[in-house]
Amino acid sequence: MSNFSVAFHGRDNVMVLALKGELDAHTATELEEAIEKCKTDQAFRIVIDGTLLAYISSAGLGVFMAFIEEIRAEEGDIKIASLQPRVYNVFDLLGFPLLFDIVDTVDEAVQRFAAGSATSEQGV
C-alpha cells in the first residue's frame, strides 16, 4: 500500500537511511519510526540518502524538524544527501539549507561527519 520505504545501513559509524518513494503526511510516521530506532540504537550520526526520494511534502519535512534538536544535543546530526533537484527545491524554498547540512552525495555527508569528529577531537 505504502509507496515509501526506509532502508538502513551503517557506514563508518554513520547510519545511512535511504529513503525511497514519496514522503508525505501518511508515510511520515515511517521515517519517524526509523529515526526513533536510530535514537534507541544510540546512532546519532544520521545521513538521509535522498537518491530515490521522489517527493516530499511539508509534513515530511516536519519529521526532520522534529528530531534535529535532540540529535544535535547528543552531539550528532542529520545530514541530507543526494536529493533530486525537484525535492531539493522544496527543502530550499522553506529555508532548510540554513538549518541542515544538505550535500550532493552520501559519501560527502559521511566524510563531513568524519571531518567534524576530527576537528572536534582536535578542539578537545
Binding site: 511539508s58 509534513a59 519535512l61 516536519g62 524538524m65 522534529a66 529555508g95 540554513l98 538549518l99
Partner: protein, 719 residues
C-alpha cells in the same frame, strides 16, 4: 375496519347458527332415541327390521351431532397438557355425578346376565348413555390436542386412521346389534376391534408434550391421568362378565357400561374403544411423565440457554447501548448456563491498543478477577487460536492464581468472533472443577456467536453515530474557517485583486488575508501551514489572529515576520512550520514591499520583462526559533506600474498531480502567467485555474489545500 368486523360478525352468526342446528338435531334425535329404547326394549316387543335400522341411523346422527357440537364448544383454543387432563377429570366427575344421581333417584338394575330388570332401567340408560358418551368424546378431543402437540403429517394421519377404526368398530357393533344371530357377528367385531387396537398402539406413544412440563406440573398431571384412567376403566367394564366383580365393591347398581350396552350396542362399542385408548394413553403418559421427571431440570436449562440466545437477539434489535449489551452478555452467560460468574474483556477502545480491558463482570468483583486471573494471557491464547479454551482444573493453571474459596475451579474462555476478528473474550467460571460438560460448552459457544454478532452490530452502530457526529463537527469547523478568510475583498483604486482558496479536506492550513492599514497602505498575507486537516486548520487560525493584530502594530515586513515567528513558535509543535509571504502594498510609493518566509516564491510579470519568480531568502515560520531568524529574512521592494502583475499561490497548486503522476510544476505556472500577463486579474485567475484543471484532467482531485491570489496594478484614475 368495517369490512373486517362485518366479516367477523358473519362468521359469528354462522357458528352460532351451526351450534343451534347441531343442538336441535342432538336434542330431537336424543329424545327420539330414548323414546325408541324405552318403548322397544321396555315393552319387550321385537321391533321391525326397518325400525331397528332407522334407530341405528338416528343414534349415529344424534351422537355425530354431539361430537360436532362438542368439537365446536371445546376446541376453540388449545389447552395446555395439564389443562386437558383437568378438563377430563371435571368431565369424569360430572358424568359420575349424573350416573350416581340417576341410579339413586330412579330405581332399576340388571340381572346376573346383564339384562335390564325393569323398564326404569331402560330409562336410566337413556340418561346415563349421553353423559358417558359425552365423556368419551371429550376424552378423544382432549387427547387429540396432546397427540397432535407436534403437528406432523404422520401424526394427523394415524390419528384419523384410529378414529376411522373406532367408528368402523362401533358401526359394526351397532349393525350386528340388529342381527345378533349372524355368523359374521363375532369375527367382524373381533377383527375391527383388533385393527382398532393396532391404531391405538400406534398413537399412544405420541407424548412429546411431556418434556416441556415443569416438575410440579408433571406430578399434578400424573395424578390427574390416574383419575382419568380409572374413570375410563368404567367405560370398558363388560356388563356380563365383570358385573359380579364390580358389585363386590358394593355399588349394587351395576356398571355404566351395562346402561350403555342397553341403550345402544354401537355406542357401547365406541365408548369401550375410546376407554381403551384413554387407559393406554393415560398409562403411557404417566410412565413417560415419570421417566421425564428427573430430566426436567436439564430441559429447563436447555430452554434457558435458548432463551438467553433469543433475548440477546432481541437486544440487538432494540438497544444499541454497548454498556447494557455487555452487561446482558455476562449476566446471561451466568444465568443460562448455571455458571458461578462471568466477565468480558474487549480490546481497549479508548487507547486503540489491543490490550484487553474488562468491560463487565457478573457475580464477581472486578478487582478479584484482576488479582486472581491473568485475563490478558488467556485472552491472547483464546483470541489467537480463535477457539474456546477450557481449563477443567482452573486453579492448577499457571495463568490463574485463584485459591479454594474464590469460586474459580473451572473456567471457560470463549472468544467472541465476528467477521474473522475477535471482538472480545468471554470468561465463564464455575465453582467446581470440571464444571462444564460437552453440551455446556457447545451451548456457550452458540451463545458466544450470538453475543459476538450483537457486539459487532452495536459497535458498527456506535461507530456510525460517531462518524456522523464528526462529519457535523467538521462541517461546523469548515464554516468557521471560511469566516476566518476575508468575506469581502478590499477595494483599492490602484489594484485589481482576484483570489480563491480551497481546502483539500473539510478544513485546511491555507490562509490569505488583507488589512487596510490606512488610505495608502494595504497589508496582505498568503500562508500555508505544514500538513493538512484539523491540526493545520488550528495553526491557520492562530496565524490569522497574529496577522490581524500584529500588522497594525508592526506593518514592516521584516519586523512583522520576526515577531510572528516569535509568537507562533511558542505554541507550535517542533515539526510544524508555516510558510508565508507577507507584504505591504503602498499606493503612494507605487510599490509592494514583501518578505518571504519559506513560501513558494511570488511571480512578477511586467509589461516588458519576462515573468519571473521573486525568490528572496527567508526560512519558514517555526524553523528557526532562536535569535538568528531576523538575519535570515530578506525584504524585497518592487516598484509597480500599471499592468504589472504579481501572483501568489501555495504549494497545493504547483504540486497538483495528474493521473499519470506528473506535477503541474513551477515551469508550467510561470509559462501560463507569462502567456496571460496582458489580461486583467480576474481573467488571469480564472485562466490559471482552468489551465490547472485541464492539466489534471477530470478524474483527479486536489489532494492538498490550494490558494491562488492575483494582483494587477492599474492606473488610479481608472477608479
Amino acid at each position: 375496519m368495517q369490512h373486517v368486523s362485518l366479516r367477523g360478525l358473519l362468521a359469528l352468526i354462522r357458528s352460532r347458527l351451526q351450534r343451534g342446528v347441531l343442538t336441535a338435531v342432538f336434542v330431537v334425535a336424543c329424545l327420539a332415541c330414548s323414546a325408541y329404547v324405552v318403548f322397544a326394549k321396555g315393552l319387550g316387543d321385537h321391533p321391525t327390521l326397518v325400525l331397528a335400522i332407522l334407530y341405528q341411523v338416528l343414534v349415529f346422527g344424534c351422537y355425530g351431532a354431539l361430537w360436532l357440537l362438542m368439537e365446536q364448544v371445546f376446541c376453540k383454543d388449545q389447552p395446555s397438557p395439564s389443562q386437558a387432563f383437568w378438563h377430563l377429570v371435571v368431565a369424569a366427575a360430572v358424568a359420575s355425578a349424573i350416573f350416581v344421581a340417576v341410579v339413586t333417584i330412579i330405581p332399576g338394575g340388571f340381572n346376573d346376565d346383564g339384562e335390564p330388570l325393569a323398564i326404569s332401567t331402560v330409562a336410566q340408560s337413556a340418561l346415563i348413555a349421553p353423559a358417558f358418551f359425552g365423556f368419551a368424546v371429550l376424552l378423544l378431543l382432549r387427547f387429540r390436542e396432546l397427540l397432535l402437540h407436534r403437528r406432523t403429517r404422520a401424526a394427523i394421519r394415524s390419528w384419523r386412521l384410529m378414529l376411522i377404526a373406532l367408528i368402523v368398530n362401533a358401526g359394526a357393533s351397532g349393525l350386528f346389534g340388529v342381527f345378533p344371530e349372524s355368523v359374521l357377528n363375532e369375527p367382524v367385531r373381533i377383527i375391527t376391534g383388533l385393527v382398532l387396537l393396532v391404531f391405538i398402539a400406534i398413537n399412544v406413544f405420541r407424548v412429546s408434550w411431556v418434556v416441556r412440563l415443569s416438575a410440579g406440573r408433571k406430578g399434578l398431571t400424573i395424578l390427574m391421568a390416574l383419575l382419568v384412567m380409572l374413570f375410563s376403566a368404567l367405560l370398558i367394564v363388560s356388563p356380563s362378565n365383570d358385573l359380579q366383580a364390580v358389585d363386590a365393591f358394593g355399588f349394587g347398581f351395576g356398571v355404566p357400561a351395562a346402561f350403555l350396552s342397553t341403550y345402544n350396542a354401537g355406542l357401547h362399542a365406541f365408548a369401550v374403544g375410546a376407554g381403551r385408548f384413554g387407559i393406554i394413553y393415560c398409562l403411557t403418559s404417566i410412565l413417560s411423565l415419570l421417566f421425564h421427571l428427573p430430566t426436567t431440570s436439564d430441559y429447563r436449562r436447555r430452554e434457558g440457554e435458548m432463551a438467553a440466545i433469543y433475548s440477546l437477539t432481541d437486544l440487538v434489535k432494540e438497544v444499541f447501548d454497548l454498556d447494557k449489551l455487555v452487561r446482558t452478555i455476562v449476566s446471561s452467560s451466568v444465568n443460562a448456563h448455571s455458571a458461578t460468574s462471568a466477565w468480558l474483556t474487549v480490546p481497549d477502545p479508548e487507547s486503540g491498543l489491543l490490550r484487553p480491558q474488562m468491560v463487565a463482570a457478573h457475580n464477581i468483583q472486578r478487582s478479584v478477577v484482576e488479582s486472581k486471573v491473568n485475563s490478558e494471557a488467556l485472552y491472547d491464547d483464546a483470541a489467537s487460536a480463535q477457539e474456546t479454551l477450557y481449563l477443567k482444573y482452573a486453579r492448577s493453571d499457571h495463568r490463574v492464581r485463584a485459591r479454594p474459596g474464590d469460586s474459580i475451579e473451572s473456567l471457560l474462555i470463549v472468544p467472541l468472533a465476528a467477521h474473522q476478528s475477535v471482538l472480545g473474550v468471554l470468561f465463564v467460571a464455575k465453582d467446581i472443577a470440571r464444571g462444564f460438560n460437552g453440551e455446556d460448552i457447545q451451548s456457550i459457544n452458540a451463545f458466544a456467536a450470538q453475543a459476538a454478532l450483537a457486539l459487532d452490530n452495536a459497535r458498527l452502530f456506535e461507530r456510525q453515530i460517531e462518524r456522523e457526529r464528526l462529519a457535523r463537527e467538521l462541517a461546523i469547523a469548515r464554516d468557521v474557517q471560511q469566516r476566518l478568510l476575508p468575506q469581502r475583498l478590499p477595494t483599492c483604486p490602484h489594484l485589481d485583486i482576484a483570489v480563491l482558496s480551497a481546502p483539500a479536506q473539510e478544513v485546511g492550513g491555507d490562509y490569505y488575508d488583507f488589512v487596510q492599514l490606512d488610505d495608502e497602505r494595504l497589508a496582505f498575507i498568503v500562508g500555508d501551514v505544514s500538513g493538512k486537516g484539523t491540526s493545520a486548520a488550528f495553526y491557520m487560525a492562530g496565524m490569522q489572529g497574529v496577522f490581524r493584530s500584529l500588522t497594525r502594530i508592526t506593518p514592516n515586513p521584516l519586523e512583522f515576520l520576526v515577531r510572528a515567528n516569535r509568537v507562533l513558535s511558542e505554541s507550535m509543535e517542533r515539526n510544524v512550520f508555516i510558510s508565508v509571504i507577507y507584504g505591504i502594498v503602498d499606493r503612494q510609493k507605487q510599490q509592494i514591499a514583501l518578505a518571504r518566509a519559506g513560501h513558494c516564491p511570488a511571480i512578477l510579470a511586467r509589461r516588458n520583462e519576462p515573468a519571473a519568480f521573486l525568490r528572496s531568502q527567508g526560512p519558514g515560520i517555526g524553523l528557526f526559533r532562536g535569535a538568528d531568524f531576523p538575519e535570515l529574512v530578506e525584504v524585497k521592494s518592487v516598484s509597480m506600474v500599471p499592468g504589472d502583475i504579481m501572483v501568489f499561490y501555495t504549494d497545493g497548486l504547483v504540486e497538483s498531480r495528474n493521473a499519470s503522476g506528473d506535477e503541474y510544476g513551477y515551469k508550467r505556472l510561470l509559462a501560463s502567467v507569462e502567456r496571460l500577463r496582458h489580461e486583467d486579474a480576474a481573467t488571469i485567475h480564472k485562466a490559471l485555474l482552468d489551465d490547472l484543471q485541464q492539466f489534471m484532467g477530470s478524474s483527479s482531485r486536489y489532494d492538498d489545500d490550494m490558494t491562488l491570489l492575483v494582483f494587477r496594478w492599474r492606473k488610479a484614475t481608472q477608479a
